[in-house]
């Protein structure tokens, strides 16, 4: 029999439908992998095997009754612990939300359950999705299943969706939800040889997703193929009146319309992304990507995105500003942690609760955000950043007059070791240099595994598309996927 945990979303959906195996057999196999890897990888904050089994039984019963099984029928998934799940602890990887059991379900997770998916557990992440290495979680680091050739040093799985990426690469789940604020789907996907897409801002409802930076936060699927991402994105996306920025548009049939034939399409190569001192391996991979897309029929041109170098500093004003506002809600009154020192008044209780509940990186960003929004500094920092954001968005609009998609690396390097950047916030922030611009412009962007570094670690290529054109992004991703033939997986040591 096929090893079930090697299968992706499409293969499980089709196999369950055809009766090659049952949904319960699939759930059992993944539940076992989750349990066996927990101690070594720490990818999940909590496992919910009973939820996966319950959903699988429902799928098997629907099949027996001859009913439709849904887009994700029989597929067990990992849920990033940023999505509120009814009566199941939801923490955002922060002590301040430890024990919080939402009395509601996020729209995205509900959409997935309605499509027949089941939940294997809540995946670890950087605290409040703030980080690029999954080292800011209160619940401990996630360890990447990948290791450098000839080394046992633990590597970062990327972040903030580091539990999602590690679980996918280690075959603990066939697909997982991610969220992307400045690269939190794409960077971990690149680090682990997995695939992930951040759709256009507004495609997936933010309702019930713990907020970090609301004008940037966007949920998306992570999986091991472009097709699997297309299927899962169809299940996740859709108009939601409960999210004021939700797009009131029908969800396209991304999977059915997948095509790796790029004839008539133009791919733009942004010259500003070719930075001084760039890793030669990354440059070579990028050139290889150009050759693949030409082979798929596309025309390739140079484009300019002149404000690229300002994207990261812009992001590190806007995201902390929004975070400082969003995280004001954690006050020790309505949910989560309360720290009430003896004799403390209400104000003391707020300050003590937030001091005890937030991690160092979260505090750092709240303080930066509070400062840039404070009287006297608001225009110099925040308004100026929003103006530069307009320019960055206009750069993309102008580029897309000449091309259909943009090809770039996902990250400046392969995965780094845990601890390598942890004492230097700025060097950690630089990891997102290629992913942040598309986030600031709200554009769909995906990372596809494209090769291995000389150390045997995965490298990803990024495709950025026009607003609403997830199809164009997925199609270019598929064209790369078919040519890269990325089949490497981490050797099992856990």
């Amino acid at each position: 029999m096929t090893e079930l945990t090697e299968l992706g979303v499409a293969a499980i959906r089709d196999g369950v439908k055809a009766g090659d195996f049952t949904a319960v057999e699939v759930a059992d196999a993944f539940n076992a992998n989750v349990a066996a890897a927990q101690e070594a990888l720490n990818a999940f904050i909590i496992a919910t095997p009973e939820k996966a089994t319950e959903a699988a039984k429902a799928t098997d019963a629907r099949r027996a009754a001859g009913e439709d099984l849904g887009k994700m029928g029989g597929v067990p998934i990992g849920m990033k612990d940023l999505f509120a799940t009814f009566d199941v602890q939801t923490t955002a990887a922060s002590h301040i939300l430890e024990g919080f059991k939402p009395q509601y379900e996020s729209t995205v997770s509900q959409n997935l359950w309605n499509a027949g998916a089941g939940m294997l557990g809540k995946l670890n992440l950087d605290q409040f999705a703030m980080g690029s290495s999954n080292e800011t979680s209160y619940f401990g680091n996630v360890i990447s299943p990948w290791r450098k050739a000839g080394s046992n040093a633990p590597l970062a799985p990327g972040g903030s969706s580091g539990g999602s990426s590690a679980a996918l690469a280690a075959r603990l789940c066939p697909a997982a939800t991610g969220t992307d604020t400045g690269g939190s789907i794409r960077q971990p996907a690149a680090f682990t040889g997995t695939t992930g897409i951040k759709p256009t801002y507004g495609r997936c409802s933010r309702w019930g997703v713990v907020a970090f930076a609301s004008s940037l936060d966007q949920a998306g699927p992570m999986a091991r193929s472009t097709q699997d991402c297309a299927i899962m994105l169809e299940a996740m996306a859709g108009f939601d009146p409960k999210d004021a920025t939700s797009l009131e548009l029908p969800v396209p049939n991304w999977e059915a319309l997948l095509s790796a034939d790029l004839s008539g399409k133009t791919v733009g190569i942004p010259r500003e992304y070719r930075m001084d001192g760039m890793d030669a391996e990354i440059v070579a991979l990028w050139d290889q990507g150009v050759a693949w897309l030409k082979d798929a029929g596309a025309k390739v041109i140079d484009i300019s995105l002149p404000h690229t170098k300002y994207a990261l500093p812009t992001y590190y004003i806007i995201a902390p500003a929004e975070a400082s506002s969003n995280l004001a809600r954690y006050d020790g009154v309505r949910y989560g942690l309360r720290d009430l020192p003896d004799g403390a008044n209400l104000q003391d209780m707020y300050a003590a609760t937030r001091a005890a509940g937030f991690g160092a990186e979260v505090k750092r960003r709240i303080l930066i955000g509070t400062y840039v929004l404070s009287a006297g500094f608001y225009d110099a920092y925040y308004t100026q950043a929003q103006k530069v954001r307009t320019l960055i968005s206009q750069d993309f609009a102008k580029a897309f007059e000449e091309c259909d998609v943009i090809l770039a690396p996902t990250t400046p390097t392969a995965a780094f070791a845990l601890g390598e950047n942890v004492d230097d916030p700025l060097s950690m922030y630089l990891n997102d240099v290629f992913s942040v611009p598309a986030s600031l412009a709200g554009l769909p962007a995906m990372s596809v595994p494209a090769g291995l570094s000389k150390d045997g670690l995965p490298l990803g290529l990024q495709i950025i598309g026009k607003a609403f054109d997830e199809q164009g992004v997925l199609n270019a991703g598929l064209a790369i996927e078919q040519r890269a033939q990325f089949t490497a997986k981490p050797e099992k040591w856990w």
Partner: protein, 100 residues
């Protein structure tokens, strides 16, 4: 612009985060490093640029003026609202005394 210990203490107070003296000392250079780096935005000419307000053009919708149109977010769910409160008493959130 750079911040000193007193400024960071003021920001932390505004953000309602208690910080110790030693934490303050550590934060000052960290925050100054980040602020010095973001200051490069000042060199961009934005004289005729509007600040972004919506990343994807969208219109704000009005919902129908109906009570409990969505039962999930409507009223009458006191127990669910209080279910995660650290202290809930008599159907209310409990907090330290604020009026003497």
């Amino acid at each position: 612009m750079s911040v000193d210990t007193a400024t960071v203490a003021k920001i932390a107070s505004l953000a309602r985060i208690k910080v110790s003296e030693s934490e303050l000392e550590a934060m000052v250079p960290e925050l100054n490093g980040i602020l010095a780096w973001v200051e490069q935005l000042g060199e961009v000419d934005t004289a005729n640029v509007e600040p972004m307000t919506a990343v994807i053009p969208n219109t704000l919708r009005l919902r129908d003026d109906v009570v409990d149109a969505d039962p999930l977010t409507g009223g009458g769910r006191r127990d669910a609202v209080l279910a995660n409160a650290p202290v809930a008493e008599h159907g209310f959130f409990g907090v330290p005394k604020v009026i003497e």
